[in-house]
């Protein structure tokens, strides 16, 4: 693919089409968090009314809702997510900058693990189609898809931290030990889903005429699989990477919470519980942009892998 004019035009078109999506996201999130009962400064002990009023005035919460909305839009334009209501002296931008590297590390590792293991298991099962090994791995994969991470995580903690004592039960200190359990928990459904996807598409590809041609050419089976079958079989997996990112992000919200990891997900949950409007909106928007960007990358990857899809058609 060359960086020619139509490519630039395509990118511009794609970027422009993102704007309405983002506007919709901002609008929905903005009003949804405010619909939730309670407010950021509610606590068990009611604040004196003057203090409450002062606080609301400081954060412009006393203004009419629409005015707040447009004020927020204005801020977003200059990429300012505003101050956090709960973490005093912290802006949402700072909180995201602090939490994201942790979440990214866990998420990227889980994605990598999910892709590599999922693809290998799927190919292995496809090559031994309908054997005992195939049925058992696909059975496990079915389990992996259906068991929620809030069940897997405590089980893993019980096994490897409480009984085994090999790994910490939670916390985060940038060591591999603290990453293993959360990454595995997060990756498990991805591995399982990709394995099933890969097995199915590999079996389908192996039945196609061009694979028969490759075999008729006398190529070793290894080369037939790796050079001729792998690429087309990967296409469904590549298109799943977009939704997989979304699933990982949702998963990380729960997993970070369970393992007490100071990532974006933890901030998001804390923000939602505290009615920390700006923090919740900031994290949601940030994740929204991330998912859109990754889907875009996936589309590009797809068009590179499949010569029939020119990027004009994306």
């Amino acid at each position: 693919m060359t960086l020619d004019q139509s490519f630039v035009r395509h990118i511009t078109r794609r970027l422009l089409s993102v704007l309405p999506t983002l506007l919709m996201l901002i609008t929905v999130v903005f009003f949804l968090v405010r619909v939730a009962p309670g407010g950021p400064f509610d606590s068990e002990k009611a604040l004196p009314p003057e203090i409450q009023a002062n606080l609301e005035a400081k954060y412009h919460l006393d203004e009419p809702l629409l005015q707040q909305y447009f004020r927020y839009l204005g801020q977003i334009l200059v990429l300012d997510f505003g101050p956090s209501f709960q973490y005093k002296d912290w802006t949402v931008n700072e909180l995201i900058a602090q939490g994201f590297p942790v979440s990214l590390t866990i998420g990227a590792l889980a994605m990598l693990l999910g892709f590599v293991l999922g693809v290998s298991i799927g190919v292995g099962a496809a090559l031994r189609q309908n054997s005992a090994a195939d049925f058992s791995t696909m059975g496990f994969a079915m389990l992996g898809v259906s068991i929620p991470n809030f069940v897997v995580a405590p089980l893993l903690i019980l096994l490897f931290a409480v009984y085994g004592g090999w790994l910490p039960a939670g916390g985060w200190d940038w060591t591999w030990q603290s990453a293993v359990l959360p990454v595995v928990t997060l990756a498990l459904p991805v591995i399982a889903y990709i394995a099933r996807l890969m097995r199915g598409s590999m079996i389908e590809v192996l039945h196609s005429n061009f694979i028969r041609t490759a075999r008729a050419k006398g190529l070793p089976e290894r080369q037939v699989i790796l050079r001729h079958a792998l690429k087309p079989a990967l296409l469904p997996v590549i298109s799943y990477m977009g939704p997989a990112t979304a699933a990982l992000i949702t998963g990380s919200v729960v997993v970070e919470r369970i393992f007490s990891i100071p990532g974006l997900g933890s901030y998001f949950v804390q923000g939602a519980l505290n009615r920390d409007y700006t923090l919740v909106m900031g994290v949601v928007l940030f994740y929204g942009v991330l998912i859109i960007a990754l889907n875009f990358i996936v589309d590009l990857l797809y068009s590179i892998l499949n010569p029939k899809i020119a990027y004009e058609e994306l």
Binding site: K217, K231, P307
Partner: protein
């Protein structure tokens, strides 16, 4: 020693409806440089017989018998041994050029890998060789078009590419499985002519699978007629055309439309359908469709020599 000797070839498929015995004891030989046409309706087992010889049957298929290439049994070989012959000594061209090339790889990669694998050429040498072959099958501007992908070529062009790919290693045997069937009528003649040309020029042996007796004459020395998984007639092109000895062959010849007979503009079809391969009738399989059937046909006929190596599987004494 014949180049290829097929002995008692059987192909069976497990299907949900039961076992299909698609090829039922096929014997034939192919001499170096000989052209053999295998003729029969769809489902007569002609393609499956060839796929079985090359170990390319679908997963639910099993094969039995022998296919001796220069004395070595292809069907008893380990995969890596068989791979030394596939593509190098025996090349096969398939029916559907639209799906027989890998859509995700450039023509260059698909051709170069054959030459590199079998002939030990460097990538550069292999590319030069591939371009040469593309030029030989008259792909215009092969140096630049070799970089393109299959979807950028028409069906006829793709079949040309597949032919060029098959010829890369100068095989001893070229098996062409209805290479023109899936193409537009307008390019069918071109491709048929091309196959004929490359076979004659290279002097290799060729097996042409077809359902159309009209296209046989150009490439073939001998014709093998198959019906319901069996050989029903075998002879030289002359014997088969001049004096067919099986009513089925007669029917096939009559069903080729003739433009040179102004008085006869009717299409002569063979009545009925091929038998259900799941439950073959007793006796001669062609009996139900045969206008010449008589009492003896209740018993399955053996293959008999009708003189000069002309074989027929029919109880009739005279020519139909």
């Amino acid at each position: 020693m014949p180049l290829l000797e097929v002995k008692d070839l059987h192909v069976r498929f497990e299907t949900p409806e039961g076992e299909v015995h698609a090829v039922r004891g096929l014997d034939f030989t192919l001499e170096p440089g000989e052209g053999l046409a295998i003729v029969g309706e769809s489902g007569s087992g002609k393609t499956q017989a060839m796929l079985a010889i090359l170990g390319l049957l679908a997963e639910n298929g099993t094969s039995g018998g022998q296919a001796l290439y220069q004395g070595a049994d292809l069907m008893a070989m380990e995969p890596h041994e068989l791979n030394r012959h596939r593509g190098r000594d025996i090349a096969m061209i398939f029916q559907d050029p639209m799906t027989s090339l890998n859509p995700y790889l450039s023509i260059e990669r698909q051709m170069v890998e054959v030459a590199m694998h079998h002939q030990g050429l460097s990538r550069r040498e292999a590319r030069v060789h591939a371009v040469e072959m593309l030029r030989a099958v008259r792909i215009p501007d092969p140096e630049s078009r070799i970089r393109q992908y299959p979807h950028q070529f028409s069906g006829g062009m793709r079949q040309r590419i597949l032919i060029a790919m098959g010829l890369l290693c100068e095989p001893d045997i070229l098996i062409a499985d209805e290479p023109t069937t899936a193409l537009d009528v307008t390019v069918q003649a071109q491709i048929a002519g091309l196959v004929e040309e490359v076979v004659q020029r290279s002097g290799m042996a060729a097996i042409l699978i077809t359902h159309d007796l009209g296209v046989v004459a150009g490439v073939s020395d001998r014709v093998l007629v198959m019906y319901a998984g069996e050989m029903v007639e075998y002879g030289t092109v002359e014997q088969i055309y001049r004096s067919p000895r099986h009513p089925y062959t007669r029917g096939l010849i009559d069903s080729v439309p003739r433009l040179d007979r102004a008085d006869d503009d009717a299409l002569h079809a063979i009545p009925g359908n091929p038998p259900n391969m799941l439950s073959l009738p007793s006796g001669c399989c062609f009996r139900d469709r045969c206008s010449r059937a008589f009492e003896a046909c209740a018993e399955a006929p053996e293959l008999r020599d009708a003189g000069d190596g002309h074989l027929k599987r029919c109880h009739l004494e005279e020519a139909p």
